[in-house]
């Protein structure tokens, strides 16, 4: 008898004994008394539990193949999404929203009309206005205004659509980030990537469907909940990969265990689980079996796709990568590789955009410029690289923060900050989208002459979520999941597709 057979036999015996322990006379009596009642009520309520009101497609969750590719509601324009989140919220007034009128107001007291009835995260009393700390030019054929902080991105404005009048109702990082990614400022809702992998599955069964990459030295303030699965089955949560060291923790076999032995033990575990399933018919067991198998395949495929060293030099030059470091440029190259391999949703977080002016790194005229330089080249490279590979047609790229920044200089606790900076601002900020059926070189929404508030084309995070789902082939109002007695959706009770920016 081989080692493997002995191993399997022992595991099976153990499982059988565990199963026998359950079948006592007391257990039988209890189960029969309760069970028949449950059967009766179950059949009475049949269809109530998971049933959607139209009675079809009550759940898209197939426990045996939770990530198998599924059909969109209508043919979508995009197959995958890369969401670039600048955590901390970059200033729209130094990047895209050109406000020459604000220049003249520099240093003046903010008028009361802008402060009355408003609440800010840090501004107290009467702050001073702060002129744009950047030079702007019109770029490309579309004539979009972009500042000198983004010299590379300025060359590709004809590929993107700007939303210049995005608003939110959360002025703190964590709730605002949750709102952008889960549709609710409170914890507990599934993130956009989870909804998408739940609805569409993923084409490459050797890789996770939803990958998260972080840079900037810190996690987003809202923590892992921004890629959590909420009430959806946990298999849909984002898989956080690291760009330094092992891409996924514990992906390597431990010392002394070779791949054959690993395979043998996974086979044995699955065999036990199959017996368990035959006995109890709990679909979650099938889910577990498929997860073990996927993890085994991923041990090979993940390190392979997550290794950027085999990319040619011209690609590294294009993205401006930094070998063996955890940085945004490396992550964004990974994002391209992942999408190319059929990963459905890639979410990047880059921390460090919270330009309050409370120290040099968070100053709008110091640290902010450095952050721009860290991302400008690689974002530009991503768009161009996707384009030349023919991938941009079916890949939706979204760039943005969780809110905007005030036209006023921040005066924390009523005192002047040591550096120039702006406070959190909910009433207007800029987000751009590209590829995946989005109009090229378009702009939607306008702000007033100092960039304080929207004066037209106002959109909310819900509208952006609705648009992303629309591009993937989902009607955000019908894409629901039954939970706690009501159908939930990503956009909750609002959201409208921003048709103005659709190609």
């Amino acid at each position: 008898m081989t080692q493997k057979e002995i191993h399997n036999k022992r595991l099976l015996k153990e499982a059988n004994e565990r199963a026998l322990q359950l079948v006592t006379r007391r257990h039988f009596l209890k189960e029969s008394a309760m069970g028949f009642g449950a059967l009766a009520i179950g059949s009475l309520l049949g269809g109530c539990h998971f049933g959607s009101s139209n009675g079809v497609n009550s759940t898209l969750f197939d426990p045996a193949h939770p990530l198998a590719p599924k059909l969109p509601m209508f043919p979508g324009r995009a197959k995958s999404v890369i969401y670039l989140h600048m955590a901390g919220a970059p200033s729209q007034l130094e990047l895209f929203d050109y406000k020459p009128a604000l220049m003249k107001l520099d240093g003046q007291d903010c008028p009361q009309s802008l402060l009355e009835g408003k609440r800010f995260a840090f501004i107290r009393g009467v702050p001073k206005m702060l002129a744009p700390q950047a030079n702007f030019k019109q770029r490309g054929q579309c004539g979009a205004w972009v500042s000198d902080h983004l010299p590379h991105f300025s060359t590709i404005v004809d590929e993107v659509s700007f939303l210049k009048s995005v608003t939110t109702d959360q002025f703190n990082h964590a709730p605002a980030q949750l709102l952008v990614h889960t549709g609710s400022p409170r914890l507990g809702r599934p993130s956009m990537g989870s909804w998408v992998t739940y609805g569409l599955g993923t084409e490459n069964q050797n890789l996770p469907g939803f990958v998260v990459l972080t840079s900037g030295g810190k996690f987003p303030d809202a923590g892992k909940s921004v890629w959590g699965s909420g009430f959806l089955p946990s298999v849909y949560q984002g898989v956080q990969c690291r760009s330094e060291g092992d891409p996924v923790l514990f992906i390597k076999d431990p010392a002394g265990m070779d791949r054959d032995l690993r395979k043998a033990s996974i086979d044995a575990i699955n065999e036990v689980n199959k017996k368990e399933y035959e006995e109890y018919r709990d679909p979650e067991i099938l889910s577990r079996i498929s997860q073990y198998e996927m993890a085994y395949r991923m041990q090979i495929s993940v390190p392979d796709v997550m290794n950027i060293n085999d990319e040619p030099q011209y690609i590294h030059d294009m993205y401006g990568t930094q070998p063996n470091k955890a940085c945004f440029a490396n992550n964004i190259l990974l994002a391209r590789k992942l999408v190319e391999k059929g990963v459905r949703f890639v979410q990047l977080f880059d921390w460090g955009w919270d330009s309050h002016g409370s120290d040099a790194n968070l100053a709008i005229d110091v640290g902010f410029i450095n952050k721009c330089r860290q991302v400008d080249k690689s974002i530009t490279a991503l768009i161009l690289d996707l384009k030349q590979r023919g991938l941009l047609e079916e890949t939706l790229v979204v760039w943005g923060g969780e809110f905007g920044r005030t036209p006023m200089q921040e005066n924390r606790e009523g005192k002047q900050n040591p550096f120039k900076g702006r406070d959190h601002h909910t009433e207007a900020f800029t987000i751009w989208m590209a590829g995946g059926g989005i109009k090229k070189g378009a702009s939607y929404g306008e702000t007033d002459e100092i960039g304080y508030a929207s004066i037209g084309g106002k959109v909310t995070p819900f509208d952006i979520q609705a648009t992303i789902l629309n591009q993937l082939g989902f009607n955000h109002e019908k894409f629901t999941y039954q939970f706690q007695g009501r159908p939930f959706r990503l956009t909750d009770v609002s959201g409208e597709v921003i048709r103005e920016i659709l190609a």
Partner: protein
Amino acid sequence: MFLSIPEFIGHLHPVLVHVPIGILLLGCLFLWQSRKDKTEHLQPVINVILFWGMVSAFLSCITGYILSTTGDYEEGLVEFHQWMGIAVAAISAFVYYINKKNILYRWQTMFTVMLLLLIIVTGHLGGSLTHGSDYLTKPLLDPGADPDVAVKRKPIPNVQEAAVYSDLLEPVFKAKCYTCHGRSKQKGKLRLDQPDLMMKGGKDGKVIIPGNPKESELVKRILLPKEADHHMAPREKAQLTEQEISLIGWWIENGADFTRKVKDLPQPDKIKSQLLDLQKATIEVKPLPELPTQPVEKADQQSVAALTNAGVVVLPISQNSNYLEANFINPQMPLDSLIHLLAPLKPQLVSLKLSGLPLTDQMLSSIANCTQIRRLELDHTNITDQGLQSLQSLDQLYSLNLVGTRVTATGVLSLKSLKKLKSVYLFQTGIKGSDWQILKRAFPGALIDSGGYTVPFLPTDTMIVRPPKRKG
């Protein structure tokens, strides 16, 4: 005021009916119990209980009859309820009689069961009369039903051209009013299912006063608080949405005309935005221009299954579509044994991805028949100009990816006849120099993507801005 005494008595019916139900139920239960040795002592009271049950059943019948003559209920249902009620009274009298005389002892149980069944049926019919016939089963059959939902409409491509009454309002009345104010039932003697009857009004007179929505009973009742007795629609029924109410008001204000179009009426801002919402909400999603519009029959399931088992992702492009996309993402069998399985999918296959596979020119010839293909991704394969010849038949081709192959300008030019081609990706191919100009001229209006983009190195890319030195 004395004239309304019969009506008052009639209104006692809903209260009174619960008395016989309770008493007769108790009588039946006691009768069954008394057949057991342990509870034999119940025997003497059964007759008293049945007597009062019988009396109250008769009283219920009388009040019920009076109510049926005054109230306005669905006729068929009332009649059925009435006869069942009379049957309950009759059977209860019969059971009382045989119990008192102590005859048919063995049959008594059977008659009580019958009585009980009759009570259940009668009670349910009564409930259906007051709460609607789907009252009991509704929460089971339609758990997600939301009473405030907007009416489902046919798409309105241009709201200005829509007829105000028949396109915008009639669907609302139909969904939310006709059940009680239509052909089958005319509560308050009002019918809303025909224009003339609508204008005629109900037993209290006109309900619509053209030009004056505030004085129109129809609008007034809709606007009453939900708790009010006269509020319409009745609070347990589907309510009108705010939008629907304001559109009705707008229509009455402008003369309650049954033929005019939206553009004929003045439109205040509020109405204008609601009209636009209506148009927006009913916009059908625009189908992708490159996708076929003709429906197609279901694909050959054997080929689909064979490909799927070999690790190829073959799926319809969306729910309710039989057109297919195929992605050879991780094929677990040699490509030449799989590629010919595509031939039977010819009518359905609109998108095919063979990226990064050892695909040869010969294999390409087997997809030459799949003329429905719109998107074809052949990047990083072994194909050459020769293989492109077999693509000449794909006259629906919209997007072609040839990145990282050995094709040259000659091969691509041979596809010139494909008029629908909108984008061709040619990064890292054998095309050089002046060939690009020739290609761009040969495919006017199409994107000929040469790739090879660079992002130049700027000195500022790696420069780090430092804070200015501070004085003191």
